[in-house]
Every structure is written in C-alpha cells, then in structure tokens.
C-alpha cells in the first residue's frame, strides 16, 4: 500500500453467523486498508459478504453474527476491542453508514428534521436550536430545501430520502462513510446525482468512502480502488484502471465477461457457470475452484492467499493473470 494516511486498517477479519444449520462464514480473512480521502469500492454478488463487512466495521452485526478473528484499526484504535459506549461515540460521528434501502432507513413516525437533530444531540451537548441550524445547513449543502426538515419520510421521494440518509451520515463530519448499495433501486438520474454528491463530499470535506456495490460500472465511476469479493473473501484488489485493464482473478474476469454488451453482433449472454458456494460447508481449497475453468489440483487442495502480484495489485489465486474466461 502506498504511504498515504491510512485511516482504516482491517487485518485478517473473519465474521461468522450462527444459523440453525451451522456456522456460516460470511467474511473470511479480509485485509483492507482505506486511506484518507479515498473511495474504495467493494464489488461482489449478493451473499459475498460485502454488507456484512460494513456492519462488522461499525460493530452493528445482527445478534447471531460475531467477529471471530482479526482487527479493525481505525486511526490506530482496534474497534474489535472497544466497549459499547466507546463504539457509540464513533458510530455516526467518526464512521457512519448509509444503508441500502432509503425507503426503510428512516423512522416513519418521526419528522426528518427531528431525526437529524437526534443524531447530533446524541453525540454533542449543544442546544436544540443550534442542532436544528446544523441540520438546515447540512440539507442546504446537499441541495435540499431546509423546509423539508418538517416533513415525514413518506412525504419524500426515494432520491430525496436517500439524500436525507446521506445527510444523517455526514452531519457530524465523519472521517469515513460506508455506503452500502446507496443507489440501488433509484432511477438513473438520481443515481448520478448521488454519485456526484459522494464525490463532492470527498473533495470538499475530505471524507473517505467504502462504496459497496454489485455494479462494476458504478464502481469504476466513483472509486479510486476496487476490491472484488467472493464467498466472504477479497479475491482481487487494485486501482480501478489496473483492474479494468487487466483483471487477474478468474472470477473478476468472469464478471467482466458477463456484463451485457450493446453491440451490433448479437452475442450470447455469458455468465459464470455454477452457483455461489454454500458458506456453511464451503468448498475445499480455493472457494472459487468449482466454477473456475482453469482450476487445477492445487486449487482443490490448498487455499490461496492474497498476494501482491503486481505493484499495488493483489490477487488470491494460484494462477493469476491466466486467461480463464
């Protein structure tokens, strides 16, 4: 990793969900560094563990989820070892999260302004009017009419709601925002606006973003680096141009090949054969080997580590760079 200021350093993180059928390995051996003013995308299918990673960082996993291994260093402090009180101080104020569905992220019975004020007052001892002012200012900076503070969530459109959610996540000027599929379900124009917003926040306020998405195109659009996740592991991570130019992991290659093209010659829609693995009883060796066209005996037996194959380009594969798809 380049010597920029690293604000978040995830080392060897593994997260498990306890289910009736057994232990589900949602996140395994994740190493990830996020720098100041950096936007890193985490790309993967549903079930790849990307959302779980987000929840784990903020320690808001559901009751049956737990961190079994690893450290999450935020400016040197290990978040996995903090108690609830200290974590509360960090949540929303230094690291915050934007959830996927703006329709359900807001309390339907509370005015939008009250929810903003609530967030501020939970962290700072200031007067209600001042908090209210801050809320109005935040809305303005996001291009929203401060009158909206008096509205209830159901009175706002989807795009507006997502902007309110973003407002909630930045009102205390955090250093890092984890955005979990923030544009899914919104129409294209709004998507574009939200992306613009994120860029602006990074440029003007210096906020770093972890942008979780399943859309490679979006990832390219918004981020500096892209991490590809499969079956709970990071399988490839590199600067976006590098990744697009030369994807080294078979899975990444498969992803690229399966993006539908608009071309004069009608090509068959390719997809990666097979299904995502069962994370309660994962495959032996490399998790991707059952679907990998170039898998060999070693792939079936041993688990590859995430190795820096080229400068600042990490892959988890025994045959990186080989053309698989």
């Amino acid at each position: 990793m380049m010597s920029r200021d690293v604000i978040l350093d995830i080392r060897n993180l593994s997260v498990i969900y306890d289910t009736i059928k057994g232990e589900l390995r949602a996140v395994e051996d994740v190493d990830l560094k996020i720098g100041k003013r950096e936007i890193v995308s985490i790309v993967g299918e549903s079930g790849s563990g990307k959302s779980t990673l987000g929840y784990a960082i903020l320690r808001i996993l559901p009751p049956n989820g737990r961190i079994v291994k690893g450290e999450i260093l935020f400016n040197g402090i290990d978040l996995t070892k903090l108690d609830e009180e200290k974590l509360r101080e960090i949540r929303g104020k230094r690291i915050s999260m934007v959830f996927q569905d703006p329709m359900t992220s807001l309390d339907p019975l509370m005015k939008v302004g009250d929810q903003l004020v609530e967030t501020v007052l939970e962290h700072e001892e200031i007067e209600k009017e001042i908090a209210w002012d801050r809320a109005a200012k935040v809305l303005e900076s996001l291009g929203i009419d401060p009158e909206r503070l008096h509205d209830y969530p159901h009175q706002l459109s989807g795009g507006m709601r997502q902007r309110i959610v973003i407002a909630l996540s930045i009102i205390l000027n955090p250093e890092l925002v984890i955005a979990d599929e923030p544009t899914t379900g919104l129409d294209v124009i709004v998507q574009y606006q939200i992306l613009e917003l994120i860029r602006k926040l990074r440029d003007d306020k210096g906020i770093s973003f972890i942008f979780i998405t399943h859309d490679l195109g979006l990832a390219y659009d918004i981020s500096d680096r892209i991490a590809v996740m499969y079956a709970g592991q990071i399988v490839e991570i590199a600067k976006k141009d590098k990744l697009f130019e030369k994807p080294l992991h078979p899975y990444t290659q498969g992803l690229f090949k399966s993006i539908p093209e608009v071309s004069p010659t009608k090509k068959e829609l390719k997809s990666i054969p097979g299904f995502p693995p069962d994370l309660i009883n994962p495959p032996s060796g490399c998790y991707f080997h059952p679907r990998c066209p170039i898998a060999n005996e070693e792939c079936k037996r041993n688990r590859p580590d995430l190795i820096e194959v080229e400068e600042d380009h990490f892959v988890r594969c025994f045959s990186p760079g080989k053309e698989a798809f």
């Binding site: 019975l109 609530e118 939970e122 962290h123 909630l168």
Partner: protein, 337 residues
C-alpha cells in the same frame, strides 16, 4: 393529503352503518333464532296463559318487522324498556351501574397495559434469552387463568387468610359513596377530600383490578412482544444504531412508538375480550357493575334487561373501535383520507 379532522368525520360516518348491522344482528340473534325466549328462560315450566301475557307485554307477539322497528325506535329514544323484575326503566339501571364497570375496567387495563408493554418490550429486546422464556411462559399462563378461580384464590389468601383486603363490593358497608362527579369512587373521593372513602375505594378495587389486569396482560405481553420483534428487525432501527444512538432510546423512542400502532389496533379488537373478562371479574367480586347486573337479571329471568345490557355492550364495542381508529390515525401520519 387530508387532515385528521376529515378522517374523524369519515370514520364517524362509517360507524353508523356498522352500528345498524350490529344492532340488527343482535335483534336477529335474540328474536329470530328458533326457541321461544320466554319458555327458554323459564325452562319450559310456565303456564301457557302467563307466558302469553308476558309475550304480549314484551311485544313478542307482534309481526317481526314491527318488532324490529319498535326495537330500533326505542333504542334511538334511549328507551331500553322496563325491567320485569324491578319495574324500573332499564336505561336508568344500566346508567347507574356503568361507572362501576368503567372504573374496574380502567384500572384493570392500566395494569394490563403496563405489564404488557414493559414485559413485552423486554422480552422482544432480549429475544431467546432466559428472561424471554420466562416472560413468554408468564403470558401463556396468565391468559389461561380462569378469572373466577384466580379471583377466588386471591380473595381467600388476601381476604380471609391474611385478612388485609376486602373480598367484594366497592366500599365498606359503613362508608357512603362520595358525591358523584365522574362516577369513579377513587377519583370522586379524592375530589371531595374524603380520605376514608378514598382508602376504602382503593382497598376494594385492588384485588379485582389486579385479577383482571393480570389475565388481560397475558395477551398484551404477547402482542407487544410480537410487534416489537418485527419492528426491531427493521432497517431504521439498525440505522439508528449505526448513527450511534443509545440502545435505550432506540427501544423506547423508536421501536415502541412504531409498535404502538398494531398494538393499539389489537387492543381495540381485543376489547371484546376485556368486556368478557370484566363480567367474570365483577361476578366473582360482587362488583356492582354491568356484569353482575347481567348475571343477576339472567337469574331473575329479566329478559328485557338482559337484552338491554347486551345492546350496551355492542355499542361499547363499536365506540371503542371508533376511538381506537382515531387514535391510530393521530399517531400515524400516514393514515389520512
């Protein structure tokens, strides 16, 4: 988007046809079903001419549609008929006893709601833990209790064995009721500054309201728990956590408020159950309310009185459902016409 005023008006209007349907149903049940009410009440052991006279007196020998019109007409005028037992207007007798039932029901409901909401919330929050198990067991046992039995046991224990609480009625025989303001002895005696009456009223209402409250709480605990669990799973709860909001605040300000809506609705639907519970509680504790009145008049074969009470109960059900809907609309800004 409409206003709450419009909602109330529309809701009131819809209540009227509901009222008609219910009154008509009662009429059908009480008059049209096979079986002559007179001989049923007397077990068939009544000389025919006396039965005839009774029937004529009650207007049961007239054609059905005339009976129906009379029935509705009288109800609208507030005339519930005359008791065959006391010969007094039934409407007045019901009005005399209504405050007693009201007082008991209010206190019982307060206890039930407090227990229900608090236990239910704790149980939902700590789902799967030992305390959840205990609370759930409590809730099932509570609503399986047979009120007269539970009441009798408490009467024996506190009233006879320990001799600390009275076993029946609203006041000690030696104390006269306070001047009527609300009809609720506990409130009226406070207003009148009559401490003896107040303490007597309180002592008399403790056991019955406790019994009613516990049994009703079983259902409330369960409903609160179910709704809280559903709400606690919602995204905005987790999002609040992600914003660093205290767990306590999340539970009581966000989760509970959002659970209240279905809870209030179910409360309204369960009101019928509460009335039934109130009847049994009253008869067990000789509480001079509508329930005891009903029981006694059944014993005395006072047919018009029995009909009157049933109609009143039906009216109460509609009224409560109306109020519940309005409160529901006041809390949830999404409900408007």
């Amino acid at each position: 988007m409409g206003s709450i005023r419009r909602y109330i008006v529309v809701r009131l209007l819809t209540a009227i046809p509901m009222l008609f349907i219910l009154l008509t149903t009662i009429f059908i049940v009480l008059r049209l079903l096979p079986g002559d009410p007179i001989s049923a009440m007397y077990g068939g052991k009544i000389p025919e001419e006396y039965a005839e006279r009774l029937r004529h007196q009650l207007g049961l020998d007239q054609p059905i549609h005339i009976q129906y019109i009379n029935y509705l007409w009288q109800l609208f005028r507030g005339d519930f008929g005359t008791s065959t037992y006391t010969k007094r207007p039934i409407a007045r007798e019901i009005l005399e006893r209504f405050p007693a039932t009201l007082e008991l029901t209010i206190y019982g409901l307060i206890i039930a709601l407090l227990i229900g909401i608090i236990f239910g919330s704790i149980s939902a929050h700590k789902r799967g833990s030992k305390i959840d198990r205990v609370i759930r067991t409590y809730s099932i046992v509570a609503y399986s209790l047979f009120i007269p039995w539970f009441g009798a046991m408490l009467q024996y224990f506190f009233g006879v064995y320990l001799h600390v609480l009275p076993v029946g009625n609203r006041l000690d025989a030696t104390i006269s009721p306070p001047p009527t303001v609300t009809g609720l002895y506990t409130i009226d005696s406070l207003l009148a500054g009559d401490f003896y009456a107040f303490s007597s009223a309180i002592r008399h209402i403790i056991l019955p309201s406790f019994v009613l409250g516990i049994v009703l709480s079983g259902i409330f605990v369960r409903i609160t728990r179910e709704n809280m669990i559903v709400v606690l799973k919602k995204d905005f709860i987790n999002f609040a956590r992600a914003r660093g909001i205290r767990e306590n605040r999340i539970l009581w300000s966000h989760a509970l408020k959002n659970s209240m809506i279905p809870i209030i609705t179910i409360f309204g639907l369960q009101f019928a159950l509460q009335l039934a519970g109130a009847i049994l509680t009253e008869t067990t504790f000789s509480w001079p309310g509508l329930g005891t009145y009903l029981k006694l008049r059944i014993e005395y074969r006072d047919y018009p009185a029995v009909q009157g009470v049933i109609v009143v109960y039906a009216l109460l059900v509609i009224l409560v459902s109306l109020i519940v809907d309005i409160i529901y609309a006041m809390i949830d800004p999404r409900i408007r016409y």
